[in-house]
Symmetry: C2
Subunit: 121 residues, 2 copies
């Protein structure tokens, strides 16, 4: 049995909702998730882990308490554990996040934008 | 202090050698490495960890003992731990690998294509 290739564009065509991560791959105990984002998310942090954002298509920013990182297609950033951040995108942006399985999208903030039991696509 | 964005194209412009991974980011104890590949690599496996390949620009294949996975720009694959594989690219292909820090490019095979002490770029 050989592993399957995973096509980002093909996977992104399978959903249209925003801020609702879909799992596309697992490496050891880490998960790769595709997300479409638009508008503001919530301020939060992950006390136990760093988090990677990779922009697949579009533009987004991540606000920190002491500055902002702008990201475009073909760029990534590592948000260190314990650091408060707030992702935002004016227009729809397609991103991939990488973090340990079980990491919640809203981190310590919780609330009604938390998505549990993420689907595989 | 806020984290820096990492631009794949900009980082790839910083080197031209083949099969010589450069570290661009760390997430917990994992490293993100850019590599330019062309030709055949060596058959090897990593007994302790899965390994992710993401194609940034180009086309490559990964041979397994029982089949081949073809990958193009915007595609990824997870090679399961312990599974023998051999990356190959007819033309130069630019890829990113993700694996635990300290994982050697030649895995259990060793030999003169092993690169230790990877540089950060």
């Amino acid at each position: 049995m050989i592993p399957k290739s995973i096509n980002f564009e093909g996977k992104l065509a399978k959903f249209s909702d925003h801020w609702s991560p879909k799992i596309i791959a697992e490496m050891n105990d880490y998960q790769f998730k595709l997300v479409k984002i638009q508008g503001e998310f919530v301020w939060h942090k992950h006390d136990e882990t760093d988090e990677v954002f990779i922009v697949i298509d579009g533009e987004m920013s991540i606000h920190f308490r002491d500055g902002t990182v702008d990201l475009s297609t073909g760029e990534m950033v590592v948000v260190p554990k314990g650091v408060e951040h707030m992702p935002i995108a004016e227009l729809e942006c397609k991103i991939m996040t990488i973090e340990p399985a079980g990491t919640l999208n809203t981190g310590d903030a919780g609330g009604d934008r938390t998505v549990e039991d993420l689907p595989w696509i």
